[in-house]
Symmetry: C2
Subunit: 225 residues, 2 copies
């Protein structure tokens, strides 16, 4: 039976933590290796930031990339195995935390930039996140989201928000039980930013040099005054 829920996403990721750590640390995912890793790093480095909140930090690769430039990174992830790996392999503060638990009282520090790098896959959890992140940012803070580009999604679906089945196509056989994900149109993503008090200061469509196709969508919101 297909289960489409925010909780099911977490269940799936907990099952796949071990092969995910290997996939990231061995650079197995071509689109990340060739395009999207550098795209998110460039975006962060273009901002006047000293500290960063990495929401859905996984096993810590982004912290490993950012801290050598002097950025201080705090990472959050709901999967204990990934946070444990981040603590071991990266410099920064890493905490096990579900998006639903996130609140200003839980994270007392204020950040220059919050980042969600391919880590916004749910429905209610994402809406909750947008509600609380602004309170964790400094008054000129930025919120960066990199995600699948909605316009180049599966053509079998209508172009509208909704749950979709996950897939590990292209990944190694160790992966199982792919997480479902909640599709959002570009209009819907930008509405989330607007309605939660961000002005869109940048929208980037990183292109694969190999194929000429779009590899992802990056949106940068700045706290509106």
């Amino acid at each position: 039976m297909r289960v489409f829920s925010d909780k099911k996403i977490i269940d799936s990721w907990r099952k796949n933590a071990a092969p995910w750590i290997v996939a990231i640390q061995e650079n197995q995912i071509e689109s990340r290796r060739l395009i999207t890793d550098q795209a998110i790093i460039d975006r962060v480095m273009s901002l006047p930031a000293k500290n960063v909140l990495d929401i859905g930090c996984g096993e810590g690769w982004l912290a490993r990339k950012l801290t050598p430039s002097g950025l201080s990174v705090t990472g959050l992830d709901v999967v204990p195995e990934l946070v444990q790996e981040a603590k071991k392999s990266a410099t920064g503060k890493f905490h096990v935390m579900a998006y639903e638990e996130l609140s200003v009282s839980k994270v007392s520090e204020k950040f220059d930039v919050a980042i969600c790098n391919f880590s916004l896959l749910g429905k209610e959890s994402v809406e909750h996140l947008f509600k609380v992140v602004r309170g964790m940012l400094n008054k000129d803070g930025y919120f960066i989201v990199q995600t699948l580009h909605p316009s180049f999604s599966d053509e079998h679906y209508a172009y509208e928000d909704g749950w979709r089945e996950g897939s590990w196509t292209g990944f190694r056989s160790e992966f199982s039980d792919p997480a479902p994900w909640y599709f959002r149109t570009i209009e819907s993503w930008l509405r989330l930013f607007r309605e939660h008090g961000y002005g869109l200061v940048h929208l980037k469509e990183p292109i694969s040099p190999a194929t000429g196709n779009v590899a992802s969508l990056i949106m940068v919101g700045r706290v509106s005054r």
Copy 2:
């Protein structure tokens, strides 16, 4: 020989003015009839506007739709036959003018809203337009562009800015010599708004109720203070 230039666009449209007037007045274009006409009208009507500059107004249909609600419309188009028809069939001030000629000194009135409804097809002409429109807007003015949605374009092309061949597929046989057009990615469109002093206050992806597919892209910029 394929000619890709802003001038060629005008040449083609002059040739097709007569069938275009018929196509619009007979409601021949399904996507306009079912989706995109109402989408642009709704967008304009949602703004606190009294007067509107309709850039690339064609034969005046948008003026015919907006003036009954009390909006005052000024329309510009480079094709004399279309402006002549607009003067005949719509209420408003209509002028023959190429985008390249447009300047604050030529249009002394200030507008609450400038609209380009499927009328930004060129390269340099569009860049010029973005440079001058802001000076024609009131300080809380809006610039609305409706255009083809870039992400659902011809898959044979790489996803990057560039000239593309035109087509009259789906139109009646009276149409000839289709105009080329300059493709822009979403990133590129939003950069035009940002770099010319607009904050993006709305992005809309009107959907066909029949197919679930995206019919166009509407962007609304507001003059940044």
